[in-house]
Symmetry: C2
Subunit: 109 residues, 2 copies
DNA sequence: CGTGTAAGGAATTCTGACACG
DNA sequence: CGTGTAAGGAATTCTGACACG
């Protein structure tokens, strides 16, 4: 589950109040985006939310899209696509897919 | 006053409770090291302390030295030396100093 | 759908001080 | 000197709900 371990960027250590200051979003908005599964903070033992710098960046992207009128549902889809694209497994499959396409194309011709 | 700006490492965003968990130090200890000027967290508008990952690393160094019985006073001196060494201005002067030393050495011989 | 807000409780943080040594 | 602790107050965060639209 861990990648670099020394990547400060992904350490969940920021409380929601600071995230709010950093992003300009209200606490309500930040919690709502979690409900819609756009972000997933960690919880401390007693249940307070902790965010990483990655989460903060993600929230700023979300804020931009929301400003453009994009619904959370759409934002979720877009983000899933993006994540897929950066997934090595998916890349491999895409490559195979492309080769197959070329193959079919040649045969059709 | 800023270096990279994109250096998450130096952004003061972590509350003292999290720092305590991260370092294993008590709140009392963390505040005391601040009193002794070993660290300098930022304050939010209402006065709560905010630390960076750099601060956390520094605190871990402090913890190690304290375990070895080094007094805060000594730790402060050591850290100042270290900072001097990594200060470009100081480097320049040291270089000049060395050259001078060589010069004197030659003349003496 | 996305966000504001009032509500009540629980957990956090702050400071200054006394204690021990 | 370095750290623990009890004390009282202020600020933070949490959840579930009602409101508007």
């Amino acid at each position: 589950m861990e990648q670099h371990d020394h990547s400060y960027k992904d350490k969940k250590v920021i409380s929601i109040g600071i995230v709010s200051e950093l992003t300009g979003l209200s606490l309500r908005q930040i919690r709502y985006y979690e409900e819609r599964r756009l972000i997933s903070p960690q919880r401390t033992t007693r249940g307070t939310r902790k965010y990483s710098f990655s989460d903060v960046e993600r929230l700023m992207e979300i804020a931009n899209k929301r400003e453009d009128g994009v619904q959370t549902n759409e934002i979720l889809k877009e983000m899933r696509k993006k994540e897929m694209r950066s997934n090595p497994d998916y890349r491999k499959k895409m490559l195979e897919g492309q080769l197959n396409a070329q193959f079919h194309f040649r045969n059709k011709k």
